[in-house]
Subunit: 195 residues, 2 copies
DNA sequence: CTGGATTGCGCAATAA
DNA sequence: CTTATTGCGCAATCCA
């Protein structure tokens, strides 16, 4: 008992816990099934079209995306020695970005954030907080989805049982009706004028 | 049509995609609902009892876990200046860990893996591959769970519609039967043709 | 004890 | 400008 109320509450909590990323309208087969705002596949919708500098290419369904970077793709600037993590992230393109895309402003706004400045630490700390918050949210969302799937499964089971009951009852009634029909047909030769 | 086959296939694929971490048998309220091997809450089951050196305390349900570390807990050895990332992870306790927990072995096996050795790089690269693989797996698992929930929802809708149909049909038959019963009861004198 | 698998974290790029 | 999201590497830990 009381499982139904719990189900609905969790489902309600679950609904609306996904970030709004259905703006990109991808005509994928999966996303076509999304009717309301809930149930966005996430990794599919945004992760694929993000396409950051060091993304593995698509990686969509095959399980071959995990492999040493150096051998597959990438310009291997940071193939093995990734301890740097500081300034050699992907700056090679930045030098001639003004030639390629003159509309984008040159990284003037990155004026000497030399990793020691208080502003840099402030930004980093703020971003760290945001990252923790976002991951917390994601964890909760995943949990809710799992619980929702479990409860939908339970509800499905009950619905199927109910359908079985209804079908059986229906068959009984149909049988009874056919019996009566036979009775009336063979017996009441005079009285059954209505049939 | 054909949605049912797709549903079952995805559900089958979904089932059994969770890592086996139900060995630790935690009598949590959530994990009690898990019947088979599927639907492990993940962050709940293992993340809470991992208890690594710098874990936020429990953080289970409330949404207050994201906050600057320094003000909440932790020994603040690496509160703000986390650029180190190298050797000052949580070593303060390690100094007197031999006193507190003499059963744990001292870090003798960490013999000068001075971050330049080829073995260190080898280990790191292998771990990086493993990490990518594991995260890929997690992403697929999450996707499958979401798709499964969606399809269970669809199936639920159809089942409810079916129940509505069956109920209506059942009511009709019941009504017909009651009418016939009335007909038979009042003797079927003569006027039944008009009804 | 050893090596892969998970996980939390911070960083940087990027999306919103 | 801000915050939010994401992929990545690192280190600790788990686990078989």
């Amino acid at each position: 008992m009381m499982s139904d109320s719990r189900v609905s509450s969790v489902i309600q909590e679950w609904a609306g816990s996904y970030p709004g990323q259905n703006h990109t309208l991808n005509p994928t087969s999966v996303s076509n099934q999304m009717s309301q705002m809930d149930m966005m596949p996430y990794g599919q919708a945004q992760g694929l079209m993000r396409g950051s500098a060091d993304d593995r290419v698509s990686e969509q369904m095959m399980g071959l995306s995990y492999l040493p970077y150096s051998s597959s793709c990438l310009s291997n600037t940071s193939s093995a020695g990734n301890t740097d993590h500081h300034q050699s992230h992907g700056n090679t393109q930045q030098d001639f970005s003004s030639f390629l895309m003159p509309t984008l402003r040159t990284p003037v706004n990155k004026r000497s954030i030399s990793k020691d400045s208080a502003e840099y630490r402030l930004r980093r700390e703020r971003n760290n907080v945001a990252v923790r918050k976002s991951r917390d949210k994601a964890r909760r969302r995943i949990l809710l989805t799992q619980q929702r799937a479990l409860q939908l499964q339970e509800e499905n089971q009950k619905l199927k049982i109910r359908i079985g009951q209804l079908t059986q009852e229906l068959d009984s009634l149909k049988h009874i009706l056919s019996q009566r029909h036979l009775q009336g047909a063979e017996g009441g030769a005079a009285g059954e004028a209505g049939i």
